[in-house]
Amino acid sequence: MNIYLRELKSHRKSLIIWCIGVFLMVVSGMQKFAGLSSSGQSLNDLFQDMPKSLQVVMGVGALDMDKVSGYYGMLFIYLLLMATIHAAMLGATIIAKEERDKTSEFLFVKPVSRAKIITAKLLAAFTNIFIFTLVTWGSSIVIVGKYADGESVNGDIAITMMGMFILQLLFMAIGSSISALKRKPKKAASLASGILLLTFVLSVVIDLNGSIEFLKFVTPFKYFEAKNIMYGGGLDTVYVLISAVLFITLLTVTLIYYKKKDLNI
């Protein structure tokens, strides 16, 4: 319990900054929508005129950009990127920082097993991520609601946030397992964000090039895309299961490897 509370405290500041960041992202994103839609021109037409690849990169896809929900679906990709970067870096640093800051000779000579230390840390990371999701969710409902103009958006926001939460957990586990596997964990956070960007780019490439469609299982960014899960689509059970299996496997890897590891002092 003491480790958990200590970790919450030490990550409090960064969590607050991230939360403010995501709030501003929603606000500024939706302000663009207000600006664009009030110009009288149809956003759909505007995006249709763009090259296909640009549309894909911006995440427009099949979304109806004239509706606030469609626009939110596009904005969601950026929220998702932010949330997963936060999660991956948090998962990596919360484990790796003891070795990075050379505090392992303090913590790991205390009468607690490594498994307990790691569990407490992962729980603290989980709590941070959950708060981040709630803040994103709350800001989305309030801000998007302002522009909804009668359209009901809360259900769509809820489903995207659930998808986002699953991916956050997944990337947290990727980050933590890298920390546990790497002998010199200083670079764990950058490696985790590297993997994240790589899978994100892959998801865009898949959209651009239909022939590598089969790779969609490799990149988590294809699991819960706004265009598929909104408008009643819901979370695909297959992807939820894949995520669950990956999550549990990665956590197990983290625990097992961290227990066996020679700490880098």
Binding site: D101, E105, L263
Partner: protein, 295 residues
């Protein structure tokens, strides 16, 4: 009873560093010195005992229990001071010590105050703002606040001024009187000589010898210094039992172990202006061990 028993402990990192086949025991209630030059494997041995790293082969027990299997249990009664102290920067000293104490199921607040008073440590400062020596003091308080039965110190005096060192040694002696066993690693021989009952000498990852400090000193070594009118032939005293032979101008000095008459006869044959025969200090014996090994 042995508090620490180390059996054939080996740890290899790739090729370079590590320890090979370490064996020694630390008995209950003693202050055990662990000396060797930098990089000899002192810290590696200690970190293996604390299961911060795991041995390649061999094993060690602390309080009769395997140091890896029962690590969390054993560590309740261990206080550890690492050679370099690093703490969570944005904490106050007080908060760090409280955090440290929260791992032990007893109230340590009184002891923290006592120790801070002895070591003259300001509890309300931030750890970032502390000098190296003051950080070391935090480490000392942190290692002793739960009144451990086994205290492991890895080069504890670096960064402490002589006055603080003195206080710290007194503190250790007091803890020892109360029943604590102490493993004291150092490369500074005088402090080991002052404090310890027995000592293990480690070199290049291997234990060279485990001896009582008194035996080491009594080992019949004598330190000779001979001053002559004219510089001596370098090899004049090169007889059995002589080591560390050095000549500087008219002064020749060496360590000798064996029949003292042999040396005195050699001395009698030459014209000397002065002669000193002394007990060597540990440092010289220690160097002697090393040179012997190197040959």
């Amino acid at each position: 009873m042995n508090v620490i028993e180390i059996k054939n402990l080996t740890k290899t990192y790739g090729k370079a560093r590590g320890i090979t086949d370490i064996n020694f025991n630390v008995e209950e209630g003693e202050i055990f010195g662990f000396i060797g030059p930098n990089g000899a494997g002192k810290s590696t041995t200690i970190r293996t005992l604390l299961s911060l790293i795991y041995p390649t082969s061999g094993s060690a027990t602390i309080f009769g229990k395997d140091c890896i299997k029962f690590a969390p249990e054993i560590k309740k009664e261990i206080g550890y001071l690492p050679s370099e102290v690093f703490y969570y920067d944005n904490m106050k000293v007080k908060d760090l010590l409280k955090y440290s104490a929260s791992f032990y199921k007893k109230d340590c607040s009184k002891r923290i105050k006592e120790l801070a008073d002895i070591m003259d440590l300001d509890l309300n400062k931030k750890i970032d703002d502390l000098s190296l020596g003051n950080k070391k003091k935090v480490g000392i308080v942190q290692g002793l606040l739960h009144e451990p039965k086994l205290i492991i110190l890895d080069e504890p005096t670096s960064g402490l001024d002589p006055l603080m060192q003195q206080k710290f040694f007194e503190l250790l002696e007091e803890e020892n009187k109360k029943g604590a066993t102490i493993l004291f690693s150092s490369h500074i021989l005088s402090e080991v000589q002052r404090l310890c009952n027995r000592v293990a000498i480690i070199k290049e990852g291997k234990i060279v010898t485990v001896e009582k400090i008194s035996t080491l000193k009594e080992n019949n070594y004598k330190k000779f210094k001979v001053e002559t009118k004219v510089p001596l032939d370098q090899n004049y005293f090169q007889i059995d039992g002589v080591s560390n032979l050095t000549g500087k101008g008219n002064v020749t000095s060496f360590l000798f172990r064996g029949d003292i008459n042999a040396v005195l006869r050699k001395v009698a044959e030459i014209e000397i202006t002065n002669l000193w025969i002394e007990e060597p200090d540990l440092e010289e014996i220690f160097l002697h061990y090393y040179e012997k090994e190197a040959k």
